[in-house]
């Protein structure tokens, strides 16, 4: 969760931004057709991002320091639930991933940076 313009350049994405109430949604279209959406608050800080499409984007770059925490929290695959997706639910950050061959997705947000009244269902 670095910055919208940095991520747009890194992902070689097309960008379109829309302001809705207290937040702005930045929609990036990746070369392979995938989508990355970043949500910034009134101060311009990224408080949430989503990804979806045929592959997985560069999460190490998009998630910044949270990437290593996501990895550490999912280091061992449960042999009885081998397809359990990666996820991290902590007081300061929430990350949920999912998907299947040909379509992967994920959602990450930082509750402390989210605008008042934020609901995860807004992250369409």
């Amino acid at each position: 969760m670095t910055g919208v313009q940095t991520d747009r350049a890194h992902l070689a994405a097309r960008l379109s931004s829309t302001t809705i109430g207290t937040h702005t949604r930045h929609e990036m279209t990746l070369p392979n057709g995938g989508l990355v959406k970043e949500f910034t608050n009134a101060n311009g800080r990224v408080y949430a991002l989503t990804w979806s499409g045929p592959g997985k984007p560069d999460l190490r770059s998009l998630l910044g320091g949270y990437f290593d925490r996501l990895q550490a929290g999912n280091a061992r695959i449960n042999p009885r639930a081998r397809r359990q997706p990666m996820q991290l639910v902590r007081s300061d950050v929430v990350i949920q991933t999912g998907g299947h061959m040909g379509y992967f997705w994920g959602v990450a947000y930082i509750p402390a940076l989210a605008p008042a009244g934020f609901a995860v269902t807004e992250l369409q």
């Binding site: 070369p31 392979n32 057709g33 989503t50 979806s52 045929p54 592959g55 997985k56 984007p57 560069d58 999460l59 190490r60 770059s61 990437f67 996501l70 990895q71 999912n74 280091a75 061992r76 695959i77 449960n78 042999p79 009885r80 639930a81 081998r82 397809r83 359990q84 997706p85 990666m86 996820q87 639910v89 929430v94 949920q96 991933t97 999912g98 998907g99 299947h100 061959m101 040909g102 379509y103 992967f104 997705w105 994920g106 959602v107 995860v120 269902t121 992250l123 369409q124």
Partner: protein
Amino acid sequence: MRALLPRLFGLCLASTLAACGGGGGGGGGSTPTAAPISTPTPTPTSSPTVVNFTTVTLDAGPAALNTGPDAYTAFNEPYVSITICAPGLTSNCQTIDHIILDTGSVGLRIVKPVINASLMAALPTESDATGNPVGECYKYVNSYAFGSVRQADFSIAGETIANMPFQAIGDTGVFATAPSSCSSGGGTDIDTVQAFGANGIIGVGTTTTDCGSICQSGLASGAAYYDCPAAGCSAIIARNANATAPFQQLPNPVAAFATDNNGTLIVLPSVAPAGVATLTGTVYFGIGTQGNNALTATTILPTTTSGSSRGPGFVTATYNGKALTQSFLDTGSNDYYFIDTTLPICTQTFLNVFYCPTAPTPLSPTFTATNGATGSGAFTLYNPAVTTSGSANVAPGLGVNPTLVTPPLPFANSFDFGIPFFFGKSVYTAIEGRQAGSTQGPYFAF
């Protein structure tokens, strides 16, 4: 290879069916599975007939899983045996057991250390336009596998493919380090047998290659191909999506067979609620191509195609009033994965992602296919802490909640019908663009 086919076929007729289907072979790095006990007799058809079926075994997995501090045994993993040979050389072959049969992915992938050194040395690596070797990254939902793209003469049952590319996971030399764009998708690097949960995987899903047009354009999907000069693999390169020779991307092996190439039929017995140590069934190659694989299903569910923005191989499952538009049938998933916030989650440490219903609970998801056809996805959900035997390597009706986040997020649009859905059924997986029985693939049917 073509000239060798009649000889290979002759061997199969002269010997037992098991020798064609999976046992035997010169494996130094792996133990062949037992010969099938109750293999059905194929119905005679017009000659020449290829032996189009082999045994599927669910058991504790290869011995390498159950060693060391992270020892475990496999659970609900359907395995087959395959044979690879040095191209054109029937004297340098290996039969490898405990290869996961996966309707949810495409392509053959083998964890490199299980391949005999002498065979490995004789398997050419694909080379790209600049003459460098080709590597591949393949991403699963919570893991990734990186390795070389090698070519081998491949066979399973009596079906053969000359010079078929496969991924040698965890290969050494220039392939020793996964590229940053591979590992940056996150997840576990599954480059050993213990991490992978098998000696390899054979993906027989609904598409003809493992990436399709995206990799043909030089981009990445869940699969990505790499230029691998001496300095290591970094640049993603374009690879064509040929489903037959000359190959570049990994093909769906079934789509690349000379015959029986429109899909699979997987037949598994039902399993008692407590589970069993071992289960055996049969995979038939082809749909309506021989006397033993007629399309007799009463539910035929066409799926999305490679051109869909939702991704390929999906149907809609409606559950608790919500239409889940990216649902699928997947032998490579060892449970049902779905969200139901009304069901209790188990509290035991190793079960705390499973549902623990207070009593066996009938659930009734319903399928809707891309053509509007409907069907039942009903099953009974069991409590793994109460119903499942501790010694079971195979058990029905277990459900996992794939998300910790509440309320469920906007992208959570899947109901994953894993291998338990296949127990007690005959399930067909038809390949995209291939006529299979009365219906054109892609579809699932049962």
